[in-house]
């Protein structure tokens, strides 16, 4: 064994990675969905929607930046927001598999957003009482943005679901496709329970039940069915992603990896 690898091993063991992983999980949810929504800039159905989607994307990006900075501080190894967003590989990402799913048609984009918003509102609401004051502050600001996102995405889901035959069928197809990825939102990275016990992260259970109530009520208004298939594809929180994330990261990270530290 070389001295270098010996040092690396000791270093890893000395750091309690659970709180860092938890903050990275929240940050990664935001970064990945921001990137997905960013793909639609200049390609939305109309100007109004283009700007609205860009606004939502930038809200998520802003949340990700604050969270990466906080994760780097907790980790204490000198990694900044760019290192964490652009220097990690697929297996290091802790986002829920929901957010990496492709945009699909407009219904799929909006249903994905709706599921994320329905989770983030109660999550940020609870996180704003975190014992970590930085996280509590970030969450208190983010929950305002999340509430608007939820208002917007749920009104789109109702309009599309309860709209024409075509829009109903497409939106139901999106719900059926994405439902199996929603369980992953409530999963926590390894060691998550210690972070909950220390009061840094909120308990997942009440958030999951608020999510469930929101989703069922909006889908009912939208005349859409909640899928009965109980299968849930989990694993994003421990780095086991679907095939889509690698492609997304390739596009998102290539500039930073080709020209590390490049400046405008």
């Amino acid at each position: 064994m070389t001295p270098a690898s010996d040092t690396a091993r000791v270093d890893t063991a000395a750091v309690d990675t659970a709180p860092v992983d938890l903050v990275l999980a929240i940050a990664d949810d935001n970064l990945i969905v921001a990137q997905r929504l960013g793909e639609l800039i200049s390609r939305s159905p109309d100007l109004e929607e283009d700007i609205a989607i860009a606004n939502v994307s930038l809200d998520h990006l802003g949340q990700a930046r604050s969270l990466y900075t906080r994760a780097g501080e907790i980790e204490g190894r000198g990694r900044d927001e760019d290192d964490l967003a652009l220097g990690r590989d697929e297996r290091d990402f802790r986002n829920a598999v929901l957010v990496e799913q492709p945009n699909g048609d407009f219904a799929q984009t909006m249903v994905r957003q709706f599921f994320l918003d329905a989770y983030q509102v109660p999550f940020y609401d609870a996180l704003s009482s975190s014992t970590d004051e930085s996280l509590a502050g970030i969450a208190a600001k983010a929950v305002k943005e999340a509430r608007y996102h939820l208002e917007r995405s749920s009104s789109w889901v109702v309009r599309l679901g309860d709209g024409t035959d075509e829009s109903h069928q497409r939106t139901q197809a999106a719900v059926d496709t994405l439902w199996r990825y929603t369980g992953d939102l409530h999963e926590r990275p390894a060691g998550g329970e210690t972070v909950v016990n220390s009061g840094v992260a909120p308990d997942a259970e009440p958030i999951a039940s608020t999510f469930d109530a929101t989703v069922r009520s909006v889908l009912a208004d939208a005349t859409l069915d909640v899928p009965e298939d109980p299968y849930q594809r989990l694993g994003g929180r421990v780095g086991t992603h679907t095939e889509h994330l690698g492609h997304l990261l390739t596009e998102m990270q290539w500039l930073h990896r080709t020209h590390p530290g490049a400046q405008w």
């Binding site: 793909e39 639609l40 390609r43 939305s44 159905p45 109309d46 100007l47 109004e48 929607e49 700007i51 609205a52 606004n55 945009n103 048609d105 407009f106 608007y148 208002e151 917007r152 009104s155 309009r159 075509e166």
Partner: protein, 110 residues
């Protein structure tokens, strides 16, 4: 990637309020601060009033331009005739401005 909605053979987009294939137009009014009036800011296309308010929020208040929004269907705006503007607005009545007398100092700010 562009969203394309396939149409049945021979189907055309419905014409909505003189805007072929699109959503109706709404005029947007923003109040910048408490105590000020709502001022016309522009317009948005949207399917209904609730979507129009959301679109107006996203398009016209991105940089904290306001604290309140009104929207109204553009077809509900009735305008004066631009051809008659000379008869309506062209004559000068300078004596209607309160500039022909001096305010006593005691009045203070008016």
């Amino acid at each position: 990637m562009v969203y394309e909605v396939p149409k049945k053979d021979g189907a055309t987009d419905p014409e909505v309020a003189g805007n072929p294939g699109g959503f109706p137009l709404w005029e947007v009014f923003i109040r910048a601060n408490r105590g000020l009036n709502h001022v016309h800011a522009g317009s948005v296309h949207a399917a209904d009033a609730e979507s129009a308010v959301q679109a107006a929020r996203d398009v016209y208040t991105r940089r904290s331009e306001g604290v309140s929004l009104w929207i109204v269907r553009s077809t509900e705006i009735h305008a004066s005739d631009p051809d008659g503007s000379d008869a309506w607005f062209g004559s000068e009545h300078p004596y209607r401005h309160p500039t022909f007398y001096e305010l006593p100092d005691e009045v203070g700010h008016m």
